[in-house]
Amino acid sequence: MPKGKIVLGTLAPHPPHVVYAENPEQNEPISEGGWETLRWGYNRLARKLEKIDYDVMVVFTPHWQTYIGTHFLGLPRFASKSVDPIFPNIFRYSYDLKVDVELSELMCKKASESGLITRMMTNPDFRVDYGTITSCHMLNPKWDKPIITISSNRSTHYYSPEVMIEQALALGKACSEAIEESGKKVVLVSSHSLSHRHFVTESPLPEDMSRERIYNHSQYVWDMALIDLFREGKMREAIDIMPEFTEQTIAETEGGGLIWMMGAMGMPDYPAEIYGYQSVIGTGNCIAAWVPEANKREIVL
């Protein structure tokens, strides 16, 4: 059996607003659109993924928050309704998804062997978080590939950003070893925003784009600094400044998703494909992709 490999890794923010704006049949609320810069970027990346041969999408989400280690989805199917506890007015999504339990268990085992605390999640009543659902819907609206969700261990707050980075890199390495051993082709998804300061009020029409802007200029400047490093293929530098970036922008990088993905991908030194950047209720959101095979990389934006 040939070794498995990561065919693409993507930073895929999950504000539920983008699903709301797409008006898929699975989501109850109806919108008049909005956040096109992000959605069109997602649409383009989804078209690229349709042409890529892969077996499973592995998602690291900050909205499944665990304090006792890292947890992995461990049943072959989850079907339920996801209602966002923060934005229930715009996200009430019925999902029915498949999980690659074999690879999930292998990742869990490898992570455990590397010294991390792990647990498989096998309660059939468990509701999959809206971060996973939003990112997966936008990347693969057909839901025709199995997924794996990995929880976000909250070590930033329990210990420090540096401890979180070490653990997330170790988790990424363990997941990479599991992927190689499985023989599967995998898309990695780091599901989160960059700067993450929200407005605490909402316009009567959430998709009123005349009201949408970044929370403040500092957040924007920091987001751009990080995206510049993505473009230049300087991911080691990006990870090095992550503690300060996270502190300065209350960034969702505190969950460790991007760091996990970089750890799994061997810290790419090639340019990322940038698909879009836009604020959602004040937060900074960038869609980016790292493609290991040089002949499949594009300059998108």
């Binding site: 506890p85 707050h157 009020t201 909402e202």
Partner: protein, 308 residues
Amino acid sequence: MSDEIIQFGLYVPPHPHPLLAPDANPGYKRLREAYDQCKDRIEKSDADIIIVYSTTWPSIIGHQFQANPNSEWVHVDDDFHYMGSMPYSFTMDSEFAARCVEKAESRGLQARTVNYDAFPIDTGSITALSLLNPDNRIPSTIVSSNMYANRSETIVLGKSIRDALIETGKKAVVVVVSSLSNRMFTEPIDPIDDRIHSQKDDDWNRKILEFFEGGRLEDLSQLSREIHGQIRVQKVVAYKPAWWMASTMGQHNNYTGEVLAYEALHGSGGAVIQLTPSHGSMGDKEFDEDDVEYYHGDRDVLDKGGTP
């Protein structure tokens, strides 16, 4: 029982162990028994409504009030999913929730009701309501904890709920769902070995319990920032439950306090505490941080009782 708009207040832990695994550890059992005692006391009270402030329901768009008259689903905790599912069916007082929103807005807050099928009620609220009000004898509402709110906003939120109680004439039991120290062990433990994470956490918890036992809720409110710095994992901007509880219950120190149980829950400090408004403890306690609305002159706090 009493004409007080706040019949009494309860401070209870958010973790599901007393609900899902009371026999796994004698401490969990004692917490469960304390919950059961509180359930009986609620049944014997004149309360028309239970108002829950849950630290495990974060909000961003202002303050959310649960208003689904029949809120039903099966919940599973993110960490403790292996302990079992948590089916629930709660009766919410939609009208009172709407009144709270109205009063919150009139005090300058952003607020809204939440009334959606399948809305994910949080672990802490489910644990509390399932144990305190298992047959839905009294309707409830649940208030979110805004992740950006700090002292003044949280205190004004409590006042707005008090406004709603005064206007409707309803009598309430208020329930704060929160740990004391909230640092858990970051690895699995055998429940029988559960203990408070550190001596420091235990010392601080016991000091806080002394304040509760003395009925000194306003003092605790004014110590919130110190408590946050000493024994709270810095997940949110502040330790808000004491602010909300003190504000909703009237901003004074005149309560009869009773600690019914204090135990470890995977390392965190879990306590079941009752505070009942009292008129008998005036004169020996004082607090000094001023109110947040405007300067009233000397407050004569020693002469103030628990009147609404």
